[in-house]
Symmetry: C2
């Protein structure tokens, strides 16, 4: 049941920050060097670098240095584990929906007493 799943924790944590999601969104339109990614954030370079490290650590992006420029690119398949987890959860949660209705109804009745 995926007790230890550092991958998922890293992925979700990486996605939990708006700046990092913005960077991903920008990268979705194509690879970009670090300073181009930093510009729209209003943040300093070292700060952006750390966001990029988090993204790279989670496997969401890759980067390569060409001369003095580091170009970053998205890793599309990185989201697969997230999607898989979501699908699993949805399967379980939905299969329980009918019984949940019963439960909520029961609760409401208890409350109404």
């Amino acid at each position: 049941m995926a007790k230890h799943d550092p991958d998922l924790s890293l992925l979700f944590h990486a996605l939990a920050d708006p700046t990092r999601r913005a960077i991903l969104a920008r990268l979705a339109t194509g690879p970009a060097p670090v300073s181009e990614l930093a510009a729209p954030t209003g943040l300093r370079l070292p700060t952006v670098m750390r966001h990029l490290s988090v993204l790279e650590g989670a496997g969401l992006i890759v980067s390569a240095k060409d001369g003095r420029v580091r170009s970053c690119a998205i890793v599309p398949e990185a989201l697969v584990p997230v999607r898989t987890w979501l699908d699993e959860q949805r399967a379980i949660w939905e299969s329980r929906l009918d019984r949940l209705d019963d439960y909520v109804t029961k609760l409401a009745k208890e409350r109404a007493k």
Copy 2:
């Protein structure tokens, strides 16, 4: 571009913790009182309570107190924004895959000059 999306940040952050994912998995099999959720974690009650607060704050669970027992239940539709975001990203990322080829080719040509 989803600049301000506190919902997503809350959701992803809530999902980033293994204990919280375990609690969700447990709740997927049906509602449960706090102490039943705490037992398998090996954590103290106050600690578990805070995990539950995070989950409830993200809208992933609801809870109601019946007597001295607080019963927690999953909110299946809470994952919809996550799923939507994932779908959007996948759409963009994948639609870019063909153009990525072009980009790489262009880069190679630039380099060759």
